[in-house]
């Protein structure tokens, strides 16, 4: 079972995130890391590979620092990495990102399974997995909170608000996984030391046969016109209990349509 896991290097959600002058995410001014939601996809890939035979390749598209996301995945146990690095890609929207990922996956080979997180922690759109499956002509099986490989196919559990679906798909397929699917491992001492010796390829657009005119901010289908900082949270309403605290609380909840 050969698995490709797509990962993203994102600004640390714990830090003060910002936008640059062209309204794209500031990736220079803040510390970055492997998107936490992608760790679940890596963990799932490692579990599948460890249960049988196969190889886990981690793939990222991003600036120089994105190599850190690949490194973390290799430290966790992935076998090799591919980093798509090209200045022309900066500011790409989801369709362009999915194009680059699709071409990269074709160049890597024909994986049995493509795994992604449920969303990135910066964009949180969740659309790239679906677009990528479409471009690769693979069944898209998204938001898996449980994944089992059975024979020539996969079975997943997808938790909805009011129902739980069991979805089966043939392989190869693309599966996006939620943060409920597993508990991602920490890199071990051995993993950290071994990661340095693992192969990482860095490819540009020309390696993928993608034209610079198909990607980047200028060619994006969407544009961010302006951004506004979220207003600071205001102090809440304090209810003084003068024997009727319960009533006041119930009135407040009813007024806000909470009950």
């Amino acid at each position: 079972m050969n698995i490709v896991v797509c990962v993203k290097y994102v600004p640390d959600a714990q830090s003060e995130r910002a936008f640059t002058e062209d309204n794209t995410t500031d990736r220079e001014g803040v510390d970055g890391l492997l998107s936490e939601l992608d760790e679940y996809a890596i963990e799932e890939a490692l579990k599948i590979a460890e249960a049988g035979e196969g190889e886990v390749t981690v793939l990222t598209v991003g600036p120089d620092d994105a190599a850190e996301a690949v490194k973390k995945a290799l430290q966790m146990g992935a076998d090799k990495g591919v980093h798509i690095l090209d200045e022309a890609i900066a500011g790409s929207d989801a369709p362009a990102t999915s194009l680059v990922l699709a071409e990269a996956i074709k160049k890597i080979g024909s994986p049995d399974l493509v795994l992604t997180g449920m969303a990135s922690t910066d964009g949180t759109m969740s659309v790239v997995p679906a677009m990528l499956a479409e471009r690769l002509g693979l069944p898209q099986v998204t938001f898996a909170s449980e994944l089992t490989v059975e024979g020539e196919g996969v079975k997943i559990r997808r938790d909805g608000d009011s129902s739980t679906e069991t979805i089966e798909s043939s392989l190869p397929a693309l599966v996006s996984v939620t943060d409920q699917i597993n508990e991602p491992r920490y890199p071990s001492f051995k993993g950290i030391m071994a990661a340095k010796k693992k192969p990482v390829e860095t490819w540009g657009l020309s390696d993928l046969g993608v034209d610079a005119g198909q990607v980047g901010q200028a060619n994006a289908w969407t544009a961010v016109l302006e951004t506004t900082k979220r207003p600071p949270r205001e102090q809440g309403e304090v209810v003084a209990d003068e024997g009727d605290g319960g009533t006041k609380l119930a009135e407040f909840l009813a007024a806000q349509k909470f009950v």
Binding site: Q75, R185, Y186, P187, S188, F189, K190, I192, M193, K196
Partner: protein, 379 residues
Amino acid sequence: MAASEDIAELSAMVRQFADDQIAPHAGQWDRDKHFPVDVLKAAGELGLGGIWVAEDVGGSGLTRADGVRIFEQLATACPTVAAYISIHNMATSMIDTAGTQEQRERWIPGLASMGQLASYCLTEAGAGSDAAALRTTARAVDDGYMLDGAKQFISGAGTSAVYVVMARTGGSGAKGVSAFVVPADAEGLSFGANEAKMGWNAQPTREVVLDGVHVPADHLLGEEGQGFAIAMRGLDGGRLNIAACSLGGAQAAFDAALAHLRTREAFGGPLIEQQSLQFALADMATKLHASRLMLHDAADALDAGAPGASATCAMTKRFVTDSCFEVANSALQLFGGYGYLWEYGVEKIVRDLRVHQILEGTNEIMQVVLARSLVKGRR
């Protein structure tokens, strides 16, 4: 040898593990006297069970210089859990360095992964600082040894799978002592009650009673009469790790006190603007820095097998555990009344760090070890 080139990443990973898996629970474990064997197993999977153990039997093959940095990070979350991992590593590395290849292959893989835990059994009720006066005996019998006696203050006792026991096979004094590996299921092995302690509540401390415990001859580590030297060699590194656990705990207490002073308002402003408290912080930061430098230097000396390394370890253990206790105690003072409350976590650090001045050789014995080498002109 020195710290490995990866040490920054190794330490950062350990800190993340400590922050996520240990720190949120440390207070409750202290209160409940809970020994978190599941978390220890998870730590073992990361490579924390055999830090200096060679890689052929599942160890991590790191240096002492790496170890003190790793234990400092672990102890920021809980000095007690970190210190138990240190003791486990000490017992495990004794088997690694003194054991035969067959002994290493038999015991270490389970210990390095921390699926099995190890206890170090030297101290007795009547032999603490004067460890060479130990009275537990190991009598040679037809197919091995028969052990009789009792070991006091044994960390992990009752839970461990393996006990490294120092017992007398020969005459009086250090040269009559041998080291044995006693498995938990050995007949005649039993344990006392979990001691009620001032701190170190997240690991059990019990008496280990050996009543006619038979072990095969291949459970002897090294040769007869080498046990005391093996035990002391283990302690050199153990002392540095315990000191590193004091440093991590003290650093956490310092960080908490600093944050408290920034937010606590009194006399018309944040407390941190009070110069007398700033002086206290400056002294604390100096002690932490000096402790760290001594630890790193002593670990380098141990890695290099430098002559006088034992004396360097002894002065380091005393200085660091004393200084870091003072730092933690000062942090408690800076917290005012809140510092005395269990909920804020600082009094726990003070209680945990207090025993580091007593165990793995009291700080008075550290003075003896150092002074002896001075008198003999070895420094």
